[in-house]
Amino acid sequence: MQNVANLSAPVGGLKPSKRHGKKPVRLSQRLLIVLAAFLSVLLIGFPLLVIFTYAFREGIAVYLEQISQPATLHAIWLTVLTALVVVPINMIFGICVAWLITRFRFPGRGLLITFIEIPFSVSPIVAGVTYLFLYGSQGLLGPFLESHDIKIMFTVLAIFLVSLFVTSPFVARELIPLMQAQGSDDEEAAITLGANGLQTFFYVTLPNIRWALLYGAMLCNARVMGEFGAVSVVSGAIRGQTNTLPLQIELLFNDYNVTGAFAASSTLAMIAVVTLVLKYLLERKQFS
């Protein structure tokens, strides 16, 4: 049962390859490799390439001019701000969930593992709609919020909340398999020797999980910065006020400013590439 969370984490986590493959000897084996590489270039390589090609096709000067438009700059700022708020909160939540699930046995534990994965199964659009029907003027708390003059929907706060929803499982799903595999012997030893809970966490647990925690935070960050569907429902997309970078891309594209849309996209694509490079480096660090 404890591995269910691991199996439902197809992002791969930080797992080393257990065994080295063989050198391809036969022609059919080489053909399989060529086919896999060809399809990957076609389906994954070209979409990445087209972003940078179109972003820079009118030269670096136009690129810089597009990227430094006030609306795009503001969208970048809002996107970074959202990540700065959401990622630390979900890191704390992820650590709490992982500690609870891997260090204790209690009734409902299996159910909890399933429940915390719910945000991954829900369409981003549905996530946005649920918040609208909680905090919007049509929503459950709408009349109450209005009578107290509190506005949540179509503000930055709504973007924070819906981003918290969408990315809440990321850190936990990286930590649970690792903390399960490590067991709690080290922590029990520390407690027995007289350390308190916080000391045990900071001196024993945290050093053991730091790379998985960092990787979970990176994945969480990439998703927060790139979230489109959920944010587009709750933001109201007021230009220069509640437009995050992915929404700004759609706006520029609909305005037929293709170079501008690709210039804005290139910043997010770079973050995606950095995330993958970090994953590669962390994998080597953890298992070297």
Binding site: P10, V11, A36, I44, F93, F133, M225, E227, P246, V273
Partner: protein
């Protein structure tokens, strides 16, 4: 609160009530409460209004379009995923680590960026579109584009579920079979395929579930025509734009129910996969 009183028998590690409290509070506020609010809204419609909305012609067309595109995307990803997993586990070749890293790109790349890139490549004047459209293959602003966007955003699922299981397939059984005269194809069909099958099915169901809810990549490439290239998530968005909140709530509820059914199916498959792995 019997949950708390038992903590003394729960070993010596501290933090049970703290982490349980934080987890339950956060989950309730951030995940459960919004979901319940939407279900409540939908429930308040009454059954006949709800049914009228979700069985309207336009809504039914979106189910048909979404499900058929998701099936096609999942089928293609199943083939591509097994090929990639096989090549990454079984062979050593230059650029293998790069290929392994690139597979995760669709999860790291924002869906809106993916949609923008795909529509540019496959539009009439695009890198691929200019060669495909004279052949009569229309992808951008057509149903195939929806399947392509779904496929791109869920490429890693099958690879990443099959890969670790394939790594664990014991080579001694294979070598025994080979020494007894089995052909490569016989070895694959009767030893390897049964071993990776549960993981393969789990990966496919994750890919299918993700495709059903996809929005960001699809809005760029699909053209968004009612009855032709309109998916479920887009119809919800359009109803919101028209301030038709009951319709948005009802269709979003259908999507939520489908998501829960898929979550249940995926979890059952994964539980089966675990039992299967323990037995073999």
């Amino acid at each position: 609160m019997s949950l708390f009183s038992k903590s003394s028998r729960r070993g010596i590690l501290p933090g049970f009530s703290l982490t349980l409290g934080v987890t339950l509070l956060y989950f309730t506020l951030i995940v459960a409460l919004p979901l319940l609010a939407m279900l409540y809204k939908s429930f308040n419609l009454g059954w006949s209004d709800f049914w009228d909305i979700v069985s309207s012609e336009r809504a039914v067309a979106t189910y048909r379009i979404t499900i058929s595109a998701a099936l096609l995307a999942t089928l293609l990803n199943a083939l591509f995923g097994v090929l990639l997993a096989w090549v990454l586990v079984r062979y050593e070749f230059p650029g293998k680590r790069l290929l392994d890293a690139v597979v995760d790109l669709p999860f790291a790349l924002p869906t809106a960026v993916a949609g923008l890139a795909l529509v540019t490549i496959f539009s009439t004047n695009g890198w691929f579109g200019q060669y495909l459209e004279p052949l009569g293959i229309k992808i951008a602003y057509a149903p195939l584009g929806i399947a392509l966007a779904m496929m791109f955003t869920s490429i890693p699922f099958v690879v990443r579920t099959v890969q670790p299981v394939l790594e664990d397939v014991a080579t001694d059984v294979e070598e025994a079979a080979r020494s007894l005269g089995a052909t490569n194809w016989q070895i694959f069909a009767s030893i390897i395929w049964p071993a990776i099958f549960p993981a393969f099915i789990a990966g496919c169901s994750l890919s299918f579930a993700r495709s059903l809810g996809e929005f960001g990549a699809i809005v760029f490439i699909s053209g968004n025509l009612p009855f032709e290239t309109e998916v479920m998530s887009l119809l919800v968005f359009i109803r919101l734009d028209e301030y038709d909140y009951p319709a948005a709530a009802a269709i979003a509820t259908v999507m939520l129910i489908i998501a829960f059914v898929m979550l249940f199916i995926t979890n059952s498959i994964q539980a089966w996969q675990l039992k299967y792995a323990e037995r073999s």
